[in-house]
Subunit: 379 residues, 5 copies
């Protein structure tokens, strides 16, 4: 239970708790001067882990510095430097690192606050970008979200994650093995490659959410239970949260493309960013389609409840309509009028075929009812 941004599908109460992922902790900061570095969010990593990857076309070096100030050295070099930080709870360490790269206090504050919406801030000598990394947790059938911050300078890229474990391994491999064009390109291409790996991962998350939807749908057709509706609503809420974390991304990447910030973003990666934008649109599109489909599922559920109520009512009505007249007939011949006093008093009781006549009357009544309901197509 050490993850922050979980979407508990099976239990509503926990999912309810997750409403606050984006804003709950912020009240910690009310009253502090702006720019104060405070870690906002649960502590999810054991300790802060800094990894530096420094490369150019010819060589590639990977180190884990003990002291973040060692990074200053790399900042001045012409090579591409990628500093990845896992864990945000040691604010002093993060602050030191940020000082090495002359980051604005508001940026430091934002890096430490894990409750943000995706956004892009343009500063004079770097870009600051926040994005949500989503991973699907198959055990709990839920989507985990983790905030990743990027600081993109001319020749360096800082990435800050809440905890270890990410979607960046293929990129790391491509750098190490010098596969593809990554080693020939600048820090902006590296940033693109990391963003691409995050957004590509959205597709597999959506794929699994989609399988969940398919599963629900089958259940809905076979045997809709109140529990099914409950789960559909949790899915719906999950879509609200996914949507909220992806929508702003569109604008973020669009403003990267619009090239207003020419120094940090080279022209040669225009097509790559365009491609990224197309992917984002496709993710949003899929989320919207899922929302439409889930809404349709709720309608189907509700109308199936109505239909079943109809069924129940019909069973009741058929039973009542058949047996009530029969019982009435039996009741009539159970009356105790004094046959001795008057020949008009229930002469049927003395008929030779009285009982068969009564049973016959009942049979006719029941058959009439059955024919009536058959005609009405009630069964």
């Amino acid at each position: 239970m050490k993850k922050i941004t979980k979407l508990n599908i099976p239990h509503l109460n926990k999912a309810a708790g997750s409403i606050f992922r984006f804003n709950k902790p912020s009240s910690l900061k009310a009253g502090l001067p702006p720019g104060t570095p405070v870690h906002v969010g649960e502590q999810v990593a054991e300790e802060v882990k800094v990894t530096v990857m420094d490369y150019d076309q010819d060589r590639c070096e990977v180190i884990s510095p003990d002291n973040p100030e060692e990074c200053t050295h790399y900042r001045k070099k012409d090579t591409v430097t990628w500093v990845n930080v896992d864990g945000l709870h040691q604010t002093d360490m993060i602050e030191k690192l940020c000082t090495c790269f002359d980051l604005h206090p508001l940026t430091v504050e934002d890096i430490l606050n894990t409750t943000q919406r995706p956004k892009l801030d343009v500063f004079d000598d770097y870009l600051y970008l926040v994005i949500k990394m989503q991973t699907y947790n198959p055990e709990r059938r839920q989507v985990d979200m983790e905030q990743v911050s990027f600081v993109l300078g001319k020749n360096y890229l800082l990435s800050f994650q809440e905890k270890e474990g990410d979607t960046f391994d293929p990129v790391r491999n491509r750098i190490r093995t010098s596969k593809g064009r990554i080693r020939k390109m600048k820090a902006d291409y590296l940033a693109y490659a990391l963003l691409d790996s995050i957004i590509d991962n959205y597709f597999s998350v959506l794929e699994q959410v989609g399988e969940e939807i398919e599963f629900m749908e089958e259940e809905l057709v076979k045997e809709p239970e109140p529990e099914t509706l409950h789960r559909i609503h949790i899915l719906k809420r999950e879509m609200i949260l996914l949507r909220r974390s992806v929508w702003p991304l569109r604008e973020v990447i669009n403003s990267l493309i619009r090239g207003e910030e020419t120094e940090m973003i080279g022209e040669d990666i225009y097509f790559y960013l365009k491609d990224l934008y197309d992917h984002t649109i496709q993710v949003i599109d899929t989320i919207e389609t899922f929302r439409d489909i889930i809404s349709g599922m709720i309608d189907i559920y509700l109308s199936s409840v109505s239909n079943r109520m109809n069924e129940v009512m019909k069973v009741l009505t058929i039973f009542a309509a058949i047996f009530i007249p029969l019982t009435f007939i039996a009741g009539v011949y159970g009356m105790n009028f004094d046959r001795v006093t008057s020949p008009l008093n229930m002469p049927e009781l003395g008929w030779y075929y009285g009982y068969p006549f009564a049973l016959g009357l009942m049979a006719v009544s029941a058959a009439g009812m059955l024919i009536y309901f058959k005609r009405k197509k009630w069964f």
Copy 2:
């Protein structure tokens, strides 16, 4: 069952599977460097088939080259060259062809990925356009979708389809027989003519979906079953997917018209593109109208369910209200009070007209009930 983009109307489970048409396969690619050519989508053609049509006003040549590299030859000629490719699973062959025409790696990647939204990418010396070709499958009562990619250069047009069979035959005939103005025009007019044939086909697809709607509507009026609702929901989902594949087209054709990309698109086809745009708007308009109508159908269904429940309840109530008092009367005269002990104990049982009196009481009670319900207009 070898088609990719089917909309299974009769069975929900399969239709559910089709949610993922656009994004399911994309997770295959997570982790690969961008621009890697991978075929994303089911293999639907036996083998890749390349056909070259090279023509100008005077002559027209049709060949099926064994080696895609033969096309390089045509690229340099002034004639209009149309290279059509059916089948995308042999990535190396596609790649070779793309290399002949100097396509950007991201374009090659996009051609092979059949899960895209319609879009237009503008490169320096060609335009890349993705569109969905829809055909109605009358047996399965469903819409099949296939992705078609166009690459439009100055004097050539490449078209990539997932499988053989398309809506282009009338265009091929017009080229062969030199009918209309097609042989006098450039590659841009050819691209227009092919797009026009695809969009014209949308109308016949919508026509058939419309007939499906009409059919449902009749069923809805005659005899609404839970099955009817189910089918309406499948129709609704089909509209979600159609809409999703047509909406982006509007923007695509609009940016073709805006003439920002003057070199590949001549001014003389402005009116033709405008016409195409009008058709697209009309398709979207029809889809939106269908959506509105389908929503109305769901409402009608639900209210008819309520009405029938009302009917059932009335039948029950009428039966109960008529017979319960009668049974009560019969019950009263079935009591065993000792008439010997006291003259007050059920003297009716000893009346001469006791039994007729009881029956009369019952008749009056039943008649009263019937009049009451008649007045309430319950039947």
Copy 3:
């Protein structure tokens, strides 16, 4: 039954057929080269009828030429020439006329296709405008729609209608009698006057639709039947179609006003077009209000169904709750316990006031129930 664009209010099936008014016939054309003149739509006129009205401030001439080519003569004159065509099924005749005025092939195609949305196409020496003429058919309580195309050149106006009978007679009279400023103005004013007569007619159509709404509303308050809901839904669908035929008009007239097309449209009719625009907005506004009101009516209907179900349930419950205890009491005293065996066995049967006691018990029980339901305000 020879009209195309009918909205059958009384019968759903026919109204359903009318969904395709805009797009159904278009599949006829799939495969033909663009610009091929084909009549798309039902043939509704006996024969094509051409009427020429040629006038300036001093004189006015009206002729019905046998051969459309006679119109060429008028095109060159400085006078205002209005050529009105009723009936579109004789494509060769229409084509000849269009050739006289040098119309683009796509325009000819559009004139013959009666399934279009309202639109404005700007060509170098003429404007092409499509609009829907609505008339209310009081017998069938439905709106008929007919497509009217205008071609506005410098000194001529062509109008194409599907059949005879239109809203133009007052304009014809004003020209003949030289009333108002029409004879002093150019062809653009004539176009305005005709558009104005069409849009003015929308108001009377809406007025009658409004009366239909009022009628439904009264029915809804007095006695809602399933039939009522059915009719409300047909009204709703009619609004969908009306809306669809009027919305694009707004943009059409707006782009006329924006005066980008200065040659055909003089500055002196700016205020008139502005007025036309205001009327269009008002029509749209009314349609939107009607839609809102119709939605409200559906809600009222549904809640009245719920209310009646509630009533039915209450009647049932009251009957059941009153008589079931009574029947129970009667049942108790109908038991046959052997009073001889034991003094404990149903001593009431032997009481002097046994029967009155039992009846009293029943009366008390029934009265209690009645008081209980009275308190609950069930009746």
Copy 4:
């Protein structure tokens, strides 16, 4: 009943009639040449009453001219001239007045047509502005609407109302008593002051509508009747109409502010118009909030209907479930099996404690049922 624009809250039929307020009479005009002055709307004033107020910083003159042509005199003076007209049915008189001020025929037509949306027309030497004046009618609990037209020239303001009685008295008093800055300002400030008085009045109308909402809400909580829903729907429709008469105002005042029309509107009233704009936004905001609240009320009503149905069902079920088993037990011991024939035939009837045993059985059954429903929290 001599008012035109009433919103009959208590009776739906009349409110339904008010749908046509904006467009019903317009069909009177179909066929007339544009610019023909025809009075469209009910005649609501006894006779047309013209009042002229002519003032500058030093003096203020109020006269009621017999002949509208006397106003020409004032038009040429430098003083601010406010001509107010109550009643629109004497078209010749209105026409004469308009001729004095050289108004465009379309403006005259618009002034006489009381079925317009709020709008602003900019002519070369005057602005024409239409607005709806709302007053709350406390007796009928309804909002009355009256159209007011303003013609604002360089040094004059014409105002046309449908009938006597308006919100302008405080402005008249300020002019007479020279309170505030009104006597020092131009005609544009006068126009602002009058608009301000109309919009300020919207607030009191909304206040009273709000009280109506509050009243309904209380009723909804205490005792929801079908009548309550009916009234809520009438309120909802009233909001549709209010909204429709206020929304366009926003654009009207915004274009006044945008200062495109510099001659008639001085720069010194920019802040005043801005303030007016803020008020309009606030009115719209309140209307939207009311709409949201009314929608919520309908939901509450419907769910309270469901809840009551639930209650009814529970009462029925509890009664049925308790008494049906009891009646069954009584029925069993009312069977007539021959105890003489066999000792197995109903030996209970001969038990010493037979009857107490049967009653006990019934008590246990009833108690069991009560406990069961208690546990289910049904009461």
Copy 5:
């Protein structure tokens, strides 16, 4: 009960009263000349309290002047002067203060009117900004809203609050103790810091609203009562009001950022305002998410009502269907046919195993029913 802007969650009637918070009192002003200073709103403070804080980098002075005119002195000084006013009911005092700073009469009017939407007015030498300060009242479980007006001049900031008690204490402390950069910055930074403290507080309000939502959700899952729905609707209405007070803020802060008003807002606080904007977006985002979640809760509630109705119906049907046949059988053997007259008359009554046979018949019937319902999965 002396607060104006309360949102009474527990009692609907009071919450209903709060609809008018924004517009109710405005009708007080109808008829007064614009710019008249009238206090609109309830009197919530004992007496108006003015506090002046005057500081620069070196020194900081805090005084509470008896006469507002003393502030004129500070206006001319270069230091930053913050004049905070608590309480608005003594209009003369406020007016005097405003005169010292040469505020426009419309600004004074707006300051005194506590029923405004957030807005920004740009005057030549100051900005006027209105915002709502929200505080959560834990006792009444409701959000209190108070209007705060800011007037930002070159070197001074005026803030007007309705009553004592605000979110500004941390800012005051930072000024006094010279913590952070506040003492080094201008009045614009002070304005930013105060806005920031207000918006930061929104987060804690939302946090508590969120806890309320969580609480409701748990209740909804455990035991949905009509009361629960009632509370959800009150929550929903609260969201409508919160949203309404926050949405306009977005535009306000955006226009501050757009830097059109360069003199009062320095370039050095651009990043701070950008940060503020991000926070506002996040607040809006959270409110929208809450609205979506609350809508979902209403759906869940309604479907749970349907489900329970279904349950009730099933219980009724099961009881009826089991016991009605049994009662019928008992009724049959309670008939009094004369066994002496004919051997056909109810021979079962004379059987040796007659009674056990009847009981067995009943058992079989009941068991059959139970199996039938078990198969239908009714329990």
